[in-house]
Amino acid sequence: MAAQLNLSGPPDSGLSSLTDQSMSSRTSNRSLRVAEKERRKNEAEDPSVLALQYFYNVEAGTPVNGNDEVERNLVLVEQVAYRNGLSPEAISIMLEFAMSLRMGHSLCPRVLKCLIPVTVVPQEAVVRGVSWLGVGKIPVSTQVLFIKWVLTVFDMIDAKDQLRAIYGFIFSFVSEENLCPFICHLLYLLTSKQIVRVFRVRKLLELQSKLGRQPFLLNLLSLYKVFCPELVTLSIPSRSKSVFKNHNMPWKSALFAVQKRNGSQVASSISLASASKDGTNRRKRKHHHLEIPVLSAVVNKQPQTETSRRLVPLVQIQSVAELLENMDHIELPAQMGSLLGSSLALQYLDCVQDESALLRLNFWIGYALHEELLFCGDGASQNSEESLQFLNKLLSTQHFLQEGFSSSDAFLYKFLNVWDGSLLRPQILGLLSNIPVIPSSQIGRLLFEPLMQLFFTSSVFFKCGLIECLSNMLLKWLIWHSVYALEDDLDISLNSHTSINMTLSGFKDSVMGLVDFVGRLASIGLQLEGCHSLLLSFILDFYTMVCDTFLKYGLPLVVMPPPGVFYPALFATDPVSVDRLAFIMYRYKVNLTSAKSQEKLTEQAFHISRQTFREFNNYTVYMVNCLWNSKMFQPGMGVQLREELLLKSNVPQYWTSFDLVHHPAFMSYAIDFHQKCWPGKKDIDLDSIKHSKPWSWYLEYLFSQGYDGLALFVQSNIRAGQGNGQQGDSLST
């Protein structure tokens, strides 16, 4: 056991003096090593350390055949490797031995196969290994094996900065036909935004024309496209679903065994990484795909003193304070999806505004959404629980970041076209409400057409849900406007991370389009559902926001509700709806008045069309006539019926039917009031309330019941002291 311990830990004195000179950069573990040295002072040199020493010292050109010493030493190293794994130093030594071909290439594959790391793989060793590729007498199969090994232990390499630094060197190997798939995978893992260059894109395209549309090239190109869409004009097939294959076969079982034995945290992260990268085993991958990876870094070493040199993995950050301290040298995890699960990580993303990190996250989300919800395999229904969790996570992330991901928007536009209106409804509607402003030229096709079909063929509850969702969408757009419009009067940025701007008039067109669309849905929806009061309530919610666009959100736009909304609300059987309509009309008046006064004040201010004023006046006059003056059917009003027809209906005094006393919504109050006012009276004569004195009492009684909207409406439209029979005033155009 002692032997294994020795080899698994840093090697002791005899060897460390040797390693020090060659690997002077590996000073980070020095303090640890000193401690180890102390501990082992008394231990005798054990055979496996000697074996390593042998491989370190062995002369180039030493024969292999018939060399029992090599065999014996290699077996010793292998034993330790398969049992406990190799320490970083041992890996450096063995890798160097193999790649330098000091004893020819026959031992190479065997050595590579036993490079099972116990903790981490030193980056320098990998870099040196890569550099040996360039010297080039290594057989192609061994080169492939080496790259496969790098891919397998990629998450265990202690840092990636130097590897990224030799990106160009690694890239040069793509032209080697046999290495290409594996090199592409490695590049894929190393790519960052700065690395994407025209000449690399060109090289890859050239290769593609030579080799055909290979999935590994497409995958790398698609990543380039994510980083620099302007450089990659190539269209990538929407259904290219091949992920890079897993190449960990030669090491998989050994790695698992070693990690299991060591009880290391590394095991879980490797298994997750392999599960999500595994393209060959679709079934297995299916089950793991939407699982948000655990935020992890394999580099589980103690935080070092010289943090300035090394990057700090995000997983080690425990608090906001630490985050702030290490802000400039944080290493993002290999799996961007893991960021979704960590609020600290999101905090980091939000304040660093790291474009490439967001792009990577975006890419991952888009891929996952498409894969799970648009292009499902058979038995897609089984993982709906997973999808639910994932979408909820995505929603809370969007909520946290206060903005959506463009990939989820793009997904939604497509998903709406095949949605049944019920699958994951709350989540889909939630995501939908986060969609940023869409230009009015596209809003119809992307949103309105699919939503129309869904709305009119679905239940009233879906209708309510959709109206609520569109209200939230509008609210977010308006807030967006009020935040960004302050910075620049004309242009607002659609998304804080893109440079796409929109003019104010374009924004107004979009908002107008949305409001008109909801108006259409609302009028017809109310008609189809028999003025369902729940639906009406959601619609009035929407207009409560719309009527205040100018004052509350600073958007110079006033849109009146269509008659299909106004009249059903006015004639609703519940007093709350009528009250809310009154409130909405009151706010319209305040907004319009204020806009008008501004228009007079400054020449620049926006112009409200006469049509809007006319509509507003018509509604107000009708409302006052109807509720106050008992003159429902005046010529020139919104609702007109022929006199004969009204007489035929045999309704006595039909013109009073919807005044505040006889309105079905308020009738019960009127009767209640009547009883309170004239307790002795047996016959109820509601008309008696209309006399000047009881009328004002009745109004007071109504207002005291909490109908503030009605109160505000009456106060603003009917001059004080003018009792029954007074026409409401109107705004002049």
């Binding site: 888009g366 648009l374 897609a380 129309m452």
Partner: protein, 200 residues
């Protein structure tokens, strides 16, 4: 030609508070679960007729009530299913196309569906001005929802919703031209694109 169009039931009168729906599906799978769910409706008496394809057999002519809504169920993963629906449409009385036909599509989210087929179904529905509903036939929630949506259309086309007619509803819900036939600029490279390319 019109002799061949057997679906002509104008001479039959509608029953009181009843609605009749005809489900046409060549695979005869989804229609069964839909039928079982449809007849559960209590507000209206719903009669369901199931057919594999049109024309309907002559011998049932007498017993067959006036059909208020014809639903063509198409499984997108099967070319046969689509072809069968297309062939059946030829036997439909043109009168039905005035708001009394709808298409219900299943498996639209399946990876094995060629985009061309979905486009073809869309084109068909758009050309006939019929609504195109998507349904999840694998889950019970999906079936319930599909049933509800069919019922809401059926009630209108059977004249049970005041102020609404089948033609009116179908003008609101009829399928639109496939999105793919829009300007190429808007076609996204879906998985990877960072969203809609908004060019101003």
């Amino acid at each position: 030609m019109s002799d061949a169009r057997s679906e002509k039931k104008r001479d039959k009168l509608p029953g009181l508070n009843t609605a009749n729906i005809l489900l046409v599906e060549s695979e005869e799978q989804f229609q069964k679960s839909l039928a079982d769910a449809l007849v559960e409706e209590t507000a209206v008496t719903v009669y369901v007729r199931l057919a594999k394809s049109l024309p309907l057999p002559k011998e049932n002519e007498e017993s067959r009530p006036r059909i208020d809504l014809v639903v063509f169920i198409i499984n997108l993963t099967s070319e046969l299913s689509f072809q069968s629906a297309e062939a059946s449409l030829k036997y439909l009385d043109p009168g039905y196309l005035l708001g009394k036909v709808c298409f219900m599509v299943t498996n639209a989210r399946n990876v094995s569906v060629p985009t061309k087929r979905l486009d073809a179904v869309r084109k068909l529905a758009a050309a006939l001005h019929c609504p195109l509903l998507f349904a999840e036939d694998q889950t019970s929630d999906g079936v319930t929802n599909a049933t509800k949506r069919l019922l809401s259309i059926l009630k209108v086309s059977a004249g049970l919703v005041p102020m609404a007619t089948a033609l009116y509803l179908s003008s609101l819900t009829s399928c639109t031209v496939p999105p793919r036939h829009r300007p190429a600029k808007l076609r996204l490279a879906p998985v990877f694109s960072g969203g809609v390319s908004l060019n101003f």
